[in-house]
């Protein structure tokens, strides 16, 4: 099939393109940008006039819930949600059930993702066996035989610092990136809300900022010592971001992402116990939100991600601290990110860079750009469609979002995966 995307405004930071160009697609690959390849005859044309055409989004942290928690979501349902959000590549943390500490689990996920054919799915291998923080997983095997793109211990902190050192040393010798969830479990002490005005007022068990900064500081020491390539996931506090930015400046091989909800919400949004605002790491103070936005401005945040965690309704129907943390975020990632451009925090090209080529680079994969002969993974969105978030209309089976009733601009109209249309909006 030969596909022509006509008259769209193309934004491809990797190739420094920002302008109206036709995109020619043949055999699932980009055949031409602007210039029609010889003998190209489109079998289908997408009119992208007044629309923006970008590389398909690469999301660093997406839980598909399969295997283990299929009542919350499946590989088929959540990759379809990714497609609806303009996301063509997702990276799955290892905390499935069973976790990804054997090649069998990784292969199962890859097979089912291939069958669903909505989105490319990459997996992170468990850093320690059973994510228990004691014994190293078979990282080398998981990399070479199951194509895992990094190692991580999910949301479970590795408490034993010696184990962490060894895991980093071993990952470094496997040439694998370690993805880190920065949390000191002693300091977070089973808390569920940021330690501040709201936790004090509502009497909620609190997680201090130091639970994050202490963990970041510990891990930075070990990164420096072991030389491992490391990525800090979903940093939530301004101070932790500052520490990582400084380390990066000093030449440490570190990168960092922030979840989109931490750039839009604070602990005040919990109001009177809104369980949709229960996330880990917690929504922090206004000062932190501004600090993260500032960090985005100064380019100290490499990547924005959804930190997608779909839940069934029951998971959020309990008193706040008894609910499960997480937000179903795939379908709001792009419009919420674009809002940051409207707010003049960063320009469109820089934003698209942080949603596409930057995360692809961290995963070490060839994605996130529209070069000739690259896979035709493309997102087309209408920048001027106003819509109101209604989780009932999500493709994801997880309807848990704190953004219900938010007025957003920009809606994905088409998502292409290897040149095939995997999502097309109704309107």
């Amino acid at each position: 099939m030969k596909l022509l995307i006509k008259q769209g405004h193309l934004v491809d930071p990797a190739n420094n393109i920002d302008g109206v160009h036709d995109v020619y697609i043949a055999s699932g690959k980009i055949a031409g940008i602007g210039n029609k390849p010889d003998g190209f005859k489109a079998t289908k044309t997408i009119d992208a006039k007044n629309q923006i055409v970008i590389p398909g989004i690469v999301d660093l942290c997406v839980r598909l819930r399969e295997p283990g928690q299929e009542y919350k979501g499946t590989i088929a349902s959540e990759t379809a949600a990714a497609a609806a959000g303009g996301i063509t590549t997702v990276c799955v943390p290892p905390d499935t059930d069973p976790c990804i500490d054997t090649t069998a689990v990784a292969e199962l996920i890859h097979q089912r993702a291939t069958a669903a054919a909505n989105c490319h799915v990459f997996t992170q291998a468990a850093l320690t066996q059973g994510l228990e923080g004691e014994l190293l997983s078979e990282m080398a095997t998981l990399k070479t035989q199951a194509n895992c793109v990094g190692v991580s211990n999910g949301l479970k902190p590795v408490e034993n610092i010696l184990v962490m050192r060894r895991a980093m040393e071993y990952a470094a010798s496997c040439d694998m990136t370690v993805f880190l969830h920065a949390e000191d479990p002693g300091l977070s002490n089973n808390g569920c809300a940021h330690e501040g005005v709201m936790s004090t007022r509502l009497g909620l068990p609190a997680i201090p900022e130091s639970a994050e900064t202490a963990a970041v500081s510990r891990d930075l020491m070990l990164i420096e010592q072991t030389g491992v390539r490391a990525h800090f996931s979903h940093i939530s506090s301004a101070n932790a971001l500052h520490m990582i930015a400084q380390a990066k400046q000093q030449g440490l091989p570190v990168s960092v992402d922030v979840s989109i909800h931490h750039l839009h919400l604070t602990d005040l949004d919990i109001g009177f116990f809104d369980s949709n605002c229960h996330v880990i790491p917690p929504l922090r103070s206004q000062r932190d939100k501004q600090g993260l936005q500032q960090g985005l401005k100064q380019n100290s945040i490499d990547v924005l991600c959804s930190d997608h965690q779909p839940h069934c309704a029951d998971a959020k129907l309990a008193p706040f601290s008894a609910t499960e943390p997480g937000i179903s975020g795939l379908e709001t990632l792009l419009p919420l990110s674009l809002r940051l451009v409207d707010d003049n925090i960063l320009d469109l090209k820089t934003l698209i860079h942080k949603l596409t080529v930057a995360p692809a680079k961290i995963l070490g994969i060839d994605a996130g750009h529209l070069s000739i002969n690259a896979a035709a993974d493309i997102c087309i969105y209408n920048p001027a469609t106003n819509w109101t978030v209604n989780p009932e209309q999500f493709t994801s089976t997880g309807h848990n979002t704190p953004f219900t009733d938010w007025e957003l601009q920009a809606k994905v109209s088409h998502t292409l995966l290897d040149g095939k249309i995997v999502y097309q909006s109704e309107s």
């Binding site: 005005v197 116990f273 129907l317």
Partner: protein
């Protein structure tokens, strides 16, 4: 404010009583005045008024309690309501039934009010959000969040002794961090116009943003007690030695226990309060707890009147539409 709306019905009348946070002064005064009317019922030969005849009130206690549960029960009975006591220790809820399922079952038995005590902050709000429209919910203590009827009975006791809130200096001493009573008291005292509220405790027992609630933090009890009109003690849970919050009960009593000697620093007519149950020799000396300035037992008696007031206001809305509009 969307957040406090849940406490009111569409006519602006108090439907649930979950927290004092966000309630206006006139509502609190209304509760105190109504309680004043009920205070005499307990002293009459026939200790009953027929206000809530035919109504069924369920005391749903997920946490053990003697004083609060019995005063709620007495209050309901003096209003002629039928009372059902359900004590659920946490082990039986771990059988798998969710809180919501349990509520649906109780609703199916046509109850009119839930009085809820639960170990998780926000539990009463959660229940109020999910009950059918004809049911009222009263928070009898949720986690570390709120205990609004306790705070109101304390206000009632203070008003009886001190009349004017706007001239008072009040000190709250002890485990503010884990205390739902302290949080509700602070909101109530602020709303009623108390100009100076002090909290006295070591840093480990004071949440970090406490000053944002409109109080002054003291670590030195002798400084904190100086010239106060009301001394409100909090109970120290024995498990606070765990988690490295305090070294020992002995040291706590030495530094933050209320003794006759320390009480002399307060105004000569200062009253001493405690929500109970008291730990003699831990947070308070017996001589003070049983002394002339102590109003601890009055608090218990006043608890019945306050709970009658709140129950009749929330459940008796249809009958007396004037009264407590926002």
């Amino acid at each position: 404010m969307k957040q406090t709306d849940i406490q009111f019905d569409q006519n602006g009348l108090l439907r649930h009583f979950l927290t004092i946070d966000g309630l206006k002064r006139n509502i609190l005064v209304d509760i105190l005045d109504t309680a004043e009317n009920f205070a005499t019922v307990g002293t009459q030969q026939v200790k009953k008024v027929p206000l809530l005849r035919g109504k069924t009130i369920v005391n749903l206690f997920f946490e053990s309690s003697t004083r609060t549960r019995t005063t709620f029960e007495l209050a309901a009975k003096r209003l002629s309501a039928d009372v059902l006591n359900i004590n659920i220790d946490t082990s039986s809820t771990s059988k798998g039934e969710s809180l919501l399922d349990m509520l649906r079952n109780l609703e199916a038995m046509h109850c009119d009010m839930f009085v809820v005590r639960h170990h998780q902050s926000g539990a009463a709000h959660f229940i109020a959000q999910h009950v059918s429209p004809h049911i009222s919910v009263i928070n009898a203590g949720d986690g570390q969040h709120a205990h609004p009827t306790q705070a109101m009975l304390d206000m009632f006791t203070i008003r009886r002794h001190k009349k004017d809130f706007t001239k008072l200096r009040v000190a709250i001493i002890g485990d503010i961090m884990h205390s739902r009573v302290a949080r509700s008291e602070i909101h109530a005292l602020n709303t009623l116009g108390v100009p100076e509220i002090r909290v006295i405790a070591p840093n480990t027992l004071i949440p970090p943003a406490t000053d944002s609630m409109g109080v002054h933090v003291y670590h030195d009890m002798e400084q904190g007690l100086k010239d106060v009109d009301v001394v409100m003690m909090l109970r120290l849970q024995h498990e606070r030695m765990q988690g490295a919050l305090l070294p020992s009960e002995h040291e706590y009593f030495e530094t933050y226990g209320l003794t006759s000697k320390k009480l002399k620093l307060a105004k000569a007519d200062a009253i001493v309060m405690h929500p109970g149950p008291i730990n003699r020799g831990v947070e308070i000396e017996s001589a003070v707890a049983d002394g002339p300035q102590s109003v601890i037992l009055e608090q218990v008696t006043n608890g019945i009147a306050i709970r009658m007031a709140v129950m009749s206001m929330t459940l008796g809305r249809q009958k007396s539409p004037e009264g407590n509009a926002t």
